[in-house]
Subunit: 583 residues, 2 copies
Amino acid sequence: MMQLKSNLKKLFPILEWGVAYSRGTFASDLTAAVIVTIMLIPQSLAYAMLAGLPPEVGLYASMLPLVFYALFGTSRTLAVGPVAVASLMTAAAVGAIAKPGTIGYLEAAILLALLSGLMLMAMGFLRLGFLANFLSHPVISGFITASGLLIAVSQMKHILGVPAGGHNMVEQVSALAAHVRETNLPTLLIGTLSVAFLFFVRLKLKALLLKLGLRPGLADFITKAGPVIAVAATTLVTASWHLDAAGVRVVGAVPVGLPAIGLPHVDLTLARDLAVAAFLISLIGFVESISVAQTLAAKRRQRIDPDQELIALGAANVGSALSGGYPVTGGFARSVVNFDAGAETPAAGAFTAIGIAAATVFLTPFLYFLPKATLAATIIVAVLSLVDLKALSRTWAYSRSDFAAMAATILVTLGAGVELGVSAGVALSLALYLYRTSRPHCAIVGQVPGTEHFRNVLRHNVVTSDKVLTLRVDESLYFANARFLEDKIYSLIAGNKALKHVVLMCPAVNSIDASALESLEAINSRLAHAGVTFHLSEVKGPVMDRLKRSHFLSELTGKVFLSQFQAFTELAPDKAQPKQAAE
Amino acid sequence: MMQLKSNLKKLFPILEWGVAYSRGTFASDLTAAVIVTIMLIPQSLAYAMLAGLPPEVGLYASMLPLVFYALFGTSRTLAVGPVAVASLMTAAAVGAIAKPGTIGYLEAAILLALLSGLMLMAMGFLRLGFLANFLSHPVISGFITASGLLIAVSQMKHILGVPAGGHNMVEQVSALAAHVRETNLPTLLIGTLSVAFLFFVRLKLKALLLKLGLRPGLADFITKAGPVIAVAATTLVTASWHLDAAGVRVVGAVPVGLPAIGLPHVDLTLARDLAVAAFLISLIGFVESISVAQTLAAKRRQRIDPDQELIALGAANVGSALSGGYPVTGGFARSVVNFDAGAETPAAGAFTAIGIAAATVFLTPFLYFLPKATLAATIIVAVLSLVDLKALSRTWAYSRSDFAAMAATILVTLGAGVELGVSAGVALSLALYLYRTSRPHCAIVGQVPGTEHFRNVLRHNVVTSDKVLTLRVDESLYFANARFLEDKIYSLIAGNKALKHVVLMCPAVNSIDASALESLEAINSRLAHAGVTFHLSEVKGPVMDRLKRSHFLSELTGKVFLSQFQAFTELAPDKAQPKQAAE
């Protein structure tokens, strides 16, 4: 009974925080919800456009998903909904299957949300969240930078008011260049003024308002409302002067009212075609989401359960699919705003959903004259903050192989699209890791005089013996480096007639797999043929436990020494230096 | 000049041993060559049949390749030529493209040798030999066992004298079952008697001859000649009684004379189709070859250079392709015989090639009545020694994940063929390795009273402090386990109000990549928000060097302690125990 209760609480964290819900918490959550709603309305319209979907789909993806996340999520402050990178990935995946604007395109996007949701939930129940760990930081960082650049360039057509497209940077830039002469001037004016205004709001407005004497809370609120102001102003201008007749493309008629709830149409062939994309969107969405959730939770010493987060994000995506939306995840900027605005529980998300629902019912008629250029401007200003080219030089300074993975991810994403980009990055970072561990750092060591320490003969002034060769290997021994170790030892003994003992010093060996065991056996027997005795020293407990389950220890020609000092003292008594009395 | 000379000697090891060649060496090499030639004649005919090729192709693959290996090889005793596993893989790869017996089939097999040769040489020059290390021992061992079973079953049709075939175990067994009623009795008699005779020769004959008073050398020679005796006897019987008219299938007319030397026909589309197979044959051939070469070399304290071996095996395969042969590699049994017979230099291989050439010129007319059942019998007896099912239980006892890789390789090879089998094994063993390192062993440690040692609190009676938490992580930190470490630390501090310090103890951390650095930074800043100081202890030199190239050390809220004892003494002076005077 207790177990059931605890399991239920684990699956529905709302049972935990819901019980303690108070009027004070309600007030905090409501305030945060109002601010997030104001931020989310233009964002959801804009990201739907980025995904190639009708604007209302963005609103639909900002209701039920938030409620579902509130039921299952372990983060108190994560704000779920449409985000830039998932929208770009949706456009790439669905665009390969159907033409934007068709029913097929919309159905594929909804199916993508369903698949992504089911995959996330399955990963959560099967505790497969660790799969996301294989997206290394340089790959994620490079991928998000490249996505930001791709997104910004993809929105330029809306700023110029020209038709263009393409699946990668080269295609997009050349399409823009081909159409640049057809630029629509009123559109360009609205677009560039919006971009300029939004950059001003983001970078300068708050300081200015504070200087003018506004309260920090109010200044913050006005700053957050920047995109709404841009939307309202450009819509008003376009409607008053009927700029749509002058070629300014507008959002147009948006269906009024809440989305119909129901199971989406599931086409199995289509589902198979979308599976890889759904998997990548799920993984990347999860990684983005969990990292912002953990950052915010740590500030209040709260805890995020990654496997439960998979279930919650999965439920949010299933919710999106059930209500005609597209893939969603936790947004970075939005969650920080939610946190800063004082959200205390996921109820804030549910209240945001109510705000968006109200907007869908009451505001949609006013969106008719909203210029697409304004939405493009909000996207461009938002995504340019994702672009972090300095990370390239930081990573280069720290590690060449991490740099290679990051650079490859950026280049392949820009040149060949999002799916290949992230796959290439993952493949390369795994290959580089395996390559590194397949050629571990090895050192021939000798005794530091007067101590029990043994250090690299190349770096330190140490005592060695012609009869004893001690090799320290700084890596777990496994199949990829087992033969490397064999080659190393054979090349060290070849032609070395004085040698009587080889000691393998293992303080950094965390495991020895069956291939490495086979190599140790081969080394042992080949050294025996050559009249050399093979010893081990400083083998860790768990590794020793496992060796005891094999025949190796009974076949070993030499001994397993607890410490290298013991080994050297016994094997080269003429050379080994006693430890000095004083330490 | 000296450099050039040394490079030339490296590329042509013959320049090294050729200079010191003496009459004594010549006598030893010649004796070994005679014995190997007698062993190789029936083997080369049989393996060509296994590969689905005319018998003379096996002889062609046993001449030029041996000469080329003698020029480039670093092993003094490796015997190169057609082998069972490469023949099976050739049959699988070429059989997917052409029908056995056609010109297209032969051309594809020759092209496969060329591709494999060029790949091996390229890998040698680019020093890519390490790629072979990713074939773990359980995968190789499972693959060879499964190949042995597949080969033995594939030869049953020749023993029964029925038509059958199939690409995997199930297909082959059901084809045999469908045709078993058509068994040709004379063929069955020849086949089973040959198998029985060869098993007797292999297992009992030598002991019997020694008991009869023969000299060990002669007894050995007669034993090695077993297959030749079987071939001669069954050929004679078949020819005398014209058993071919009774349905015994024979080798038939074999072209007399040496092969024409020339560039093979290269079809680029075909080459692309064969590329994966050529790569796998190259890798597996290299692994088989290098392991026998190293075993034999170590017995005489000689050295094998793996990259030069790639060049030598590549040259051997190119040689095979130029003279109408198919893929070759170093054979295990044959090399051991060569070594035991006293071969001292690769010249023994060249002499063997002359022996095979003589056989091709003078013996081929006598092969007309050689029953295919006899060749099948020699194959079956040879490959059953490759099957090592006990390795399954040995591996199970040592490591479950190695067992899984081995079992998967065997099952997929038997069920879906050689290429998928070995690929599945490699993929699974990599995945299991990555999974293991993605969830490293971690231990909360405390001080062993009266010592400077810190051990796992769960296994030892140690001193800890409520204010200080020390976590030792037994693995290098990299992207796949970076978030695991974060989760671990966050869950340890969640709700722990007394905690003031977290120490990460790093004696087993051989490297920290950019993702792990990012995680350490996140841990540092999130702990700071929670009012907890973050420290490191026992960081290795190379890892510290790299950390110094980042901002991490300047942002770290705590310190980097040289030893965990120092850390605990400074952070928990009330708890830490002084070291006892006597050791």
